[in-house]
Each structure stands twice: as C-alpha cells, then as structure tokens.
C-alpha cells in the first residue's frame, strides 16, 4: 500500500490535532493516526471531498462527519471534486444549490417586476406637474452630456421662431395635458431629447443634419409621442429600480449610471414613438414621409462624426427595421409646418 502524504487530523469533536498518514486502500482513503492503537480510518473515496483553502492547505472531508485531515498538497489521484454535482452529496451543498436556484429565480422575477410591471403601474399614478418637475431634474445631466467639448449652452430664439415651433407642436398634440417647451442647445451631437413633462431639447447638430423643415416636424412628432406615452417617466422608474440594484453592487457610481440610463429609451419605446409620429403627422396634416429621411440623416450624421474605428457605435441594430417601417410612398403635398424664414433662423442659431 502506497503511503501518499502526511498531515494533521482533527476529529471535529475535541480541540486536538494529531499527525496522520494518508494512503490509498482500494476504493478508500486510509488514515493512519499517530499514536493510535485502534484500526486506521477507512473513508470511501466516493463519500469524501477535497477542498483547497488558500493559506491552510488541502482538506480531506468526509460527508457525514465533522472530522477532517489537512495536508500541504493533494495526492496525485485525488480526482477532481470541484464539479457542482460532486459536491452535491454533501447536505450543505444540496441546500446551497436549492437556495441558489430559488433565490436566482426570485431575483429574476423581482427584476422583471421592478423593470416592467412596476413602471407600467406607477406611471399612471404620477401627476403631470410631478412628471414635469422630474423632467427638469434630468436637464442638468443632459446639459453635461451636450456640453462636453465646450458646448452645451441654450441658443437664444426669436419670439416668432418659438411661436412657430409651439404652433406646430400644439397641432401635433391636440387636447394634450402637457405644457410643451422647445429649446435648441449648441452641441455637435445630432439628437433630440424629450424630457418627462414636455420639455423638448433639440441640438444644433440635429438641425444641421436634417435635410428640410418637414423632417424637423417629423422629429418633433416623434419626440411628443415619447412625452404623451410617458416613455421618459417609465425610463426614470426603471432607472430607480436599477439604481437600487446597481448601487448595492457598485455603490453610488451604480446609481449614477442608472440615472444616466433614464436618458435613453428602449427599442420598444423608439418603435412606439415612430408609429405614433406617423399617426400624428397624418392627423395634423404634415408629411409623414419626412420621418424616414429624418432618421436616415440622423444616422448618417452620427456615423460621420465618429472616427472610422468607432463607427459601429452609431449603428443602431434595428435602424434598418425602423427605416423600413417608416417608409411612405405618395405624391400628396403637405404644408411644411415650419416656414422657410423660421427654418433659416433655426439653422443660423448659435452660429454667431
């Protein structure tokens, strides 16, 4: 019989350690204790596991006994016992696995609740005033994002330009409960943002990227749909739940990351906003066919402003699908909504 290792044996009942010699004996581990006159211990290998404890060494444990032996190294044929089900013969491991599965399922269900069901329920209960106040809380974060690189100031607008834009929006949202406000910010980022409560922020980068005034009207229709369907509020509620979870893992940085997430809409929200925009444009008598080129121009502007290696960042995976869904054929002529003078004024904003 080959003697493999020497180590320390602890019986698990008394605070007494003894020298032990480990050998293989058929299907068993044979433990010969120093100074013991009785028969050596025979532990069937299938009822044992090896554990490595950093700093302490390698522990041979028997599954229904508190006794164990501690060695500096493992015997060469100790076998792999790191697999999940090899450990499962131990009662504590079985309970651990059961609880792990149960808690993972509960956590997944809870996250689904916090992320989907709860926001849908809560968003109906929040008054418009509160929603508007919440939207304004997001504005400073948005300005920080827009302001990187020395930009981010609001462009002063002439009264007639503001009146023109407001008239267009009011026609798109007849009978709304929101009070809309439209601002243009100086930023190379070609985008528009609808804050909860009706504050719409356009960028000079967006206006430069669009090909015509009807395209801007289409973008406004898209943004007011986000507001009317309370997408921003829903994102904020989701971000609150996510923030609770992320801050538990990452501290305050996680909560901040979740708040930034409130500025983004899900693909589902974007699809709903596209569909809603087409309906609103038709109902208001504006050109629904302008949404498609507006999306294409925005995508191109985002791509062009990125260096070649980072271009993939701007390629929204479902852009093709959105372009397909917003395609409209037809010869019908529509009023532009924003007059030529206003359009030229918009394109000149923040240029001086």
């Amino acid at each position: 019989m080959e003697q493999l290792l020497t180590g320390r044996y602890f019986d698990g009942r008394t605070a007494q350690g003894r020298a032990v010699r480990l050998a293989e004996d058929g299907i068993c581990w044979r433990l010969e204790l120093e100074g013991q006159e009785a028969e050596p211990l025979l532990w069937p290998r299938t009822e044992c596991r090896w554990r490595t404890i950093a700093g302490s060494g390698h522990v041979l444990e028997h599954h229904d006994d508190a006794a164990y032996a501690l060695f500096d190294r493992r015997p060469p044929r100790a076998g792999r016992t790191r697999r999940l089900f090899a450990r499962a013969s131990f009662a504590d491991s079985r309970r651990l696995i059961r609880l792990g599965v149960a808690s993972a399922l509960a956590l997944a269900g809870l996250l689904a609740l916090v992320h989907s069901a709860l926001p849908a329920l809560i968003r109906r209960t929040v008054p418009v005033d509160t929603e508007a106040a919440l939207g304004e809380q997001l504005l400073p974060q948005l300005v920080i994002v827009l302001g990187i690189g020395g930009h981010g100031r609001a462009c002063p607008m002439e009264g007639r330009l503001t009146a023109n834009l407001t008239a267009v929006v009011n026609r798109l949202v007849l009978g709304t409960r929101y009070h809309y406000q439209i601002d243009v910010y100086d930023s190379p980022i070609a985008n528009a943002f609808a804050l909860p409560g009706g504050h719409i922020v356009l960028t000079t980068g967006l206006i430069a990227a669009l090909g015509s005034a009807p395209e801007l009207v289409a973008v406004l229709a898209h943004e007011v749909t986000h507001v009317e369907k309370r997408h921003g509020l829903t994102s904020m509620i989701q971000a609150s739940g996510d923030g609770a979870l992320l801050s538990a893992v990452f501290g305050n940085a996680g909560s901040f990351a979740a708040q930034l997430g409130a500025l983004n809409y899900s693909r589902q929200h974007e699809r709903e906003a596209d569909a809603g925009a087409l309906e609103r444009l038709e109902r208001a008598g504006y050109d629904p066919g302008a949404l498609n080129p507006a999306l294409a121009h925005l995508a191109a502007a985002s791509r062009m402003s990125l260096p070649p290696g980072l271009a993939f960042l701007s390629t929204h995976p479902d852009l093709e699908e959105r372009l397909q869904a917003t395609k409209r054929d037809g010869e019908t002529s529509y009023p532009p909504g924003i007059g030529n003078v206003s359009w030229q004024l918009l394109r000149a904003l923040c240029k001086s």
Binding site: D11, A15, I53, L96, G100, V249, L313
Partner: protein, 380 residues
C-alpha cells in the same frame, strides 16, 4: 458500522498553557505566531481590486473568500493555524437572497422619494427609511459575525456567534438614537453595551467568551478625540480606534484566558495617515494625468462626436483605475498591516483547558452574510 465508529475518541486533556498539570499562572504564557502570507494577500488584494469592474463586482465574493482564508491562516496558535472554511458561492447566494429583500425596499423608498412631493409624506419616509436602515445595519452586523464565526475553526472546533439578529437590529437603532441625543458623548457607553451583547454570545465550540468592558474606561480618549476631530481632519478617530481595540482585546475572555495585544495605540492613526497621504498624492496625479490626456485629445481630435467619446473614456478609465488602486491601498496600508501587527504583538494570558471544550452544536447556516454583504458591513 458507521464511519464514526472508525474514530477513536480522543480526550487527551490538552491544555493551552505552559504547564498542563500545574497551577494557574498569571502573565504571558505563549505568544501567538503569524505565518507570513502577506505576499499572497497583497497579490489577491491587488488583482482582485482590478477584477471587480470587469466582472461587474461579482469577483468580490471570490476575493473576500481568498483574502479571509489567507488572513485567517496567518494566525497560528500552539502549532495550528486558524482556518477559514467559507465558500464564495455561499457569499454570492447570500447576496442574492439579500437582494430579494432589499430591492423592493429600495425601490419603494425611491418611488416615494421621487414621485410623491407631499412634505409630510417625505418626512415620514425619511424617518422610516432611517429606522429601517439602522435596524437592517444591526441585523447585518450580527449576520456578518455569525457567518465569519461559523466559518472559522481551530483544530476542527468551530466558533459560533449566537444571539438574536432581530434584537441586534433594535439595539443599533436604540443606541444610535441615544448617541445622537447625547451629541455623541455617550457613544463609548453605548458601543461597549453593544459589544457586551455580542461578545457574551460568542463561542469557541461549547465554551463561551465573556466580555465586561465598560464605556467609562474609554470616555476620556473619546472626548479628546471629539475635541481634536476637526483640527486633525478626522484622523483623531483612528487614534481612538486604536485605544478602543486594545481595550476590547484586554477585556475579552475565553474561560480564564485573555488575549491582550501590546500594539501601539498610534498604529491605526499612522496607518490611516499614510493611507490618506497615498490617496491624496495618487488622486492629484490622476487628476493631472486626466488634464494632460484631455488637453492632448483637444489637440488631436478638436471637435465632434469622436472628441466627446474619447473625453468620456479618458476621464472614466483613470477614475476606475484610481478607485481600484485605492481599494488595494486600503488592504495594503490599513487592513492587513493592522491585523498582522495586532496578532504579532498579541499574547495569551491565563489558562484554558482544551480537554473540556467540545464541538459547537450551533447551526452553521449555509449561506453567506447576505444583508451584510449588500450593505457593505465589514471592511473585507
């Protein structure tokens, strides 16, 4: 025949003292020894800290387990080292269980805080949130100790922490309230009352620890620490922590055995001071580096989306690395040296009859610290 029948009972009457059969002896009997695992500890702390972000924080359970194993096994008593037997999966599952409890509470609190503007509701919410958080903290403190104790063994005998976690939660809330009422002056009395609650229910096998520490022994250093808190920029708290730790170790008993440690009362102060220096110096370096990188970026890519994205990356990456580095420094300059020095200067006084100590029958539980982990109770 069961496997237990193979085992011969061993009750040799071993006594952890110089003279097993002799009379009681006062004074130091045997030094506690340390095994040098500091290299492994620092490597684990370093790489583990940098692995936290790429693994979304989940590596913390593996890092904690490894660090604890290494630190526990650094302490040797009478020829045998302590063993930490906890497993990372226990911590992970404990954390998930805690999340199941905490996420709805946090979400409810967030919802009321953000979406209800009524001032009376907000006042009630703040009070309830403080009470619940305080209670959870107390619950978590004892859970943390209970898990650590149950996963610590020496010569095969487990430690255990008993006592009600619910009661621990109420004690922390009550003591916290009384401490605020006394403007912090009564803190040592309340602290020692809580330590008595905890230590008098800590066990090694079936032998109970005892602790009779009193707040009056610490009130002088505490008042001095409070007076000097502002001029010393808070570092006087670390001097007090050193005094408090020594007092705690002086007063803890297992049977007739005491565990005093003669480390310098300034040890924690010095460690905190050095850590603060490293944190500030490296922070200034990181800010300067970010400034240079942003300057370079504005020269190479002056405008556009590329400039914005690169700026975000150039600010985020150094900050992430800095936070990881700070976490490592916390272990390198505070946690580990303080622990090692405390043990190195530790002595055993009095006598403990090991033959009378049997295995703990207290349930070990099978999940990790849970709420404690989620609330970040305990340094590691």
């Amino acid at each position: 025949m069961s496997d237990n029948d193979h085992l011969s009972p061993i009750h040799p009457g071993s006594v952890l003292a110089v003279q097993p059969e002799g009379p009681r002896v006062d004074g130091p009997l045997k030094r506690v020894l340390t095994r040098d695992h500091s290299g492994q500890i620092y490597r684990t702390a370093f790489w583990g800290s940098f692995l936290l972000f790429p693994t979304l924080g989940f590596y913390q359970f593996w890092q904690k387990t490894r660090l604890r194993s290494l630190i526990w096994s650094s302490v040797e008593l009478d020829g045998d080292a302590f063993e930490y037997t906890g497993r990372p999966m226990e911590l992970l599952i404990g954390f998930m269980v805690a999340m199941v409890i905490l996420v709805p509470l946090a979400a409810l609190n967030q919802y009321v805080a953000v979406f209800i503007s009524d001032s009376l509701v907000q006042t009630i919410r703040s009070v309830v949130a403080a009470l619940v958080l305080g209670w959870l903290y107390g619950f978590a403190l004892l859970s943390h100790r209970r898990y650590l104790a149950s996963r610590t063994r020496w010569r095969g005998i487990r430690f255990s922490q008993r006592g009600s976690r619910v009661q621990s939660g109420f004690l922390v809330v009550t003591y916290g309230f009384l401490s605020v009422l006394s403007l912090g002056i009564a803190a040592p009395y309340l602290d020692m009352a809580y330590q008595r609650f905890v230590w008098n229910d800590t066990w090694f096998g079936d032998e109970r620890f005892t602790f009779q520490g009193q707040g009056k022994a610490l009130i002088g250093p505490w008042l001095a620490c409070l007076l000097l808190a502002i001029p010393s920029l808070g570092l006087s708290l670390f001097y007090y922590s050193g005094v408090r730790l020594r007092y705690l170790l002086d007063e803890i008993r297992l049977g007739d055995m005491r565990f005093p440690s003669a480390f310098s009362k300034w040890m924690l102060f010095k460690a905190a001071f050095f850590f603060a220096l490293v944190a500030i110096f490296s922070g200034v370096l990181v800010i300067a580096m970010i400034g240079v990188l942003l300057g370079l970026n504005s020269t190479v890519v002056p405008t556009g989306m590329a400039n914005i994205i690169l700026n975000v990356i150039l600010v985020t990456l150094p900050v992430v690395f800095y936070l990881s580095f700070l976490r490592f420094c916390l272990f390198r300059f505070m946690v580990v040296p303080v622990l090692i020095e405390t043990v190195r200067k530790g002595t055993l006084e009095g006598m403990l009859d090991l033959s009378s100590i049997g295995q703990s029958q207290f349930s070990t539980g099978y999940v990790g610290e849970g709420v404690a982990s989620a609330l970040d109770v305990g340094a590691f």
